[in-house]
Symmetry: C2
Subunit: 382 residues, 2 copies
Amino acid sequence: MKNFIYQNPTKLVFGKGQIAKLPQLIPAGKKIMITFGGGSVKSNGVYDQVKTALKDFETIEFWGIEPNPKVETLRKAIELGKEKNIDFLLAVGGGSVLDGTKLISAALAMPDKEAWEIVLSGYAPVNTPYASVMTLPATGSEMNRGSVISRKETKEKYAFYSVDYPQFCILDPEVTYSLPKNQLANGLSDVFVHVMEQYLTTTGQSRVMDRWAEGILHTIIEIAPKVLSGTHDYDTMADFMLSATLALNDMIRMGVTEDWATHMIGHELTALYGIAHGASLAIVLPGTMSVMREQKRGKLLQYADRIWNITEGGEDERINLAIARTVDFFNSLGQATRLSEAGIPEEAAAEVERRFNERDVHYGEEGNVTGKVARQILESRK
Amino acid sequence: MKNFIYQNPTKLVFGKGQIAKLPQLIPAGKKIMITFGGGSVKSNGVYDQVKTALKDFETIEFWGIEPNPKVETLRKAIELGKEKNIDFLLAVGGGSVLDGTKLISAALAMPDKEAWEIVLSGYAPVNTPYASVMTLPATGSEMNRGSVISRKETKEKYAFYSVDYPQFCILDPEVTYSLPKNQLANGLSDVFVHVMEQYLTTTGQSRVMDRWAEGILHTIIEIAPKVLSGTHDYDTMADFMLSATLALNDMIRMGVTEDWATHMIGHELTALYGIAHGASLAIVLPGTMSVMREQKRGKLLQYADRIWNITEGGEDERINLAIARTVDFFNSLGQATRLSEAGIPEEAAAEVERRFNERDVHYGEEGNVTGKVARQILESRK
């Protein structure tokens, strides 16, 4: 096990009717900017619940933070926040709304810094206090410091980290009942791959962290068909929502190495071709598993055994079967698992290589997923 | 899934050489009382590491917090702390030293309250800041607000909770290499039963919490033989130490009901007969499983299947086998699993019933483990 420090102070407020707790969670007197995506929170009742709960606070609203939030949009929110002297931010929506709000939070705390410069620096050393009411189980952004921001004019998409965790997140599974099927599928894919990025590296670092990662994978595989059916079963959606948070809140990364190459390649596909984040991961992950199979051999065999109960046959046979099962799982969600199926041209592989090389980046647990390897991964998913 | 709030701000500082980080973890200028148990920290080098790290702080030492810490001992530490105007407490040792230190922390913050009154009230609304260097994987006290204190003169043992979590805990698996076998066995038993108290209730509340609880059980069962062999294998002891913390830091109790009857009965046995805490649990748990089998039927079957791979036979056959396997596991640790084997007289059952009735308490996930049921549980373990 590697040395590590774990500390996550975010307050997780989970369950039915918890949005009504907002006035107890935000200090009195705060001037709040509430940030939103599109209008779905108006049709599912979340908007009304939030406004009712915050009736005694001074609030302004900022609408229109899009999926893969754009710095061009967020600059408008930052200007508004400065003008109104906002000192608390409440994101109401999915991971994109919250990711965007993390940049607003950092930019309001550093009024002399340009927003995209903060993203490029990779780290925000100060934050305006922020929190969320999460409506879409997927990114885990509600209980971590990460944020991924896109820039429309240059087709770029990068992650940065804030010094502060969200002050709280409210997760009410009932608000997920109205989500469309493609968002549920992308959420399930995102959660699955978050776990895999922290799990599918080397064996033997931590038995208990491996078990916890496998526990989330089992849960997601078990509930996926029911989630996709548009169920209003509370416990199923509660497990989905909780799994999404636990998949990326530092609890399964204690003392273990991580990968994240699949995410970094996926971000390029989204930046270049506009494919949804979860959908991009369903294409890339099987490629990463296949191309990096020697480095990940031991863990791939463990994954085959413990997740898919594949115990017979030679090592390579078992690994091939585990990759095939992973592809089947994504297909069962309705995801494309090849570039061609998603309408992404073959040239994507060369373009991602060029971009990785231009920035001189290399990802993966050994830092050896260079532009060249990223190209191989994408070429394996033509 | 039940509604819940999770927030645990304790900083977990894990790994080799981490005791040297103490000066970065305690604010400069604090006047620290360092609390200890017996002298083992002098022979294993922990004492020297702590003193070297804190050389620039004003410190005083309090020695002699015993297993099942006694209020009579702790009152002396509280007097000393008041006299020296202590404003930070650092427990260096196992769970008993830290549990005792939590009471010192509460009493120093409420100088007008008598220590045992705080215990009896069940809750300390203020704390003097406290933290720990943990040397024994067992109680999980390092990352929770609970504390169990005994009173020698009346042979009583009760739990109380503090408002504040520990500020940090330092866990260096290397300091566990010198632990004696009985302490390792009691630690393994304690961790196992902590998980069972949060797991063995009803089914269907949370798939992912069930998986996480099962993940710790699998880890403990897998590593137990090697831990007991007195291994210096770092990764094994790291998994033991991390599992002990994760078993009781709120991470596996999100949205699920809990039991704790086994612990409450075990506390009585310790208070009355001086049996070690972990050892008491190994006797009581099989009794709880057996006597409460109808209420816990579904979860017992899940436990049989997922932990012991018992999938054949009728329901009762599978449950009986799962209980037998649990007994075998405790026996493999060298634990007695019957009162008689531990030298505890049969009258224990009636005496625990009397004590439960006197206080009018009833435990378990349905609140139906009354004095009468506690007696049945103990009578089943004669």
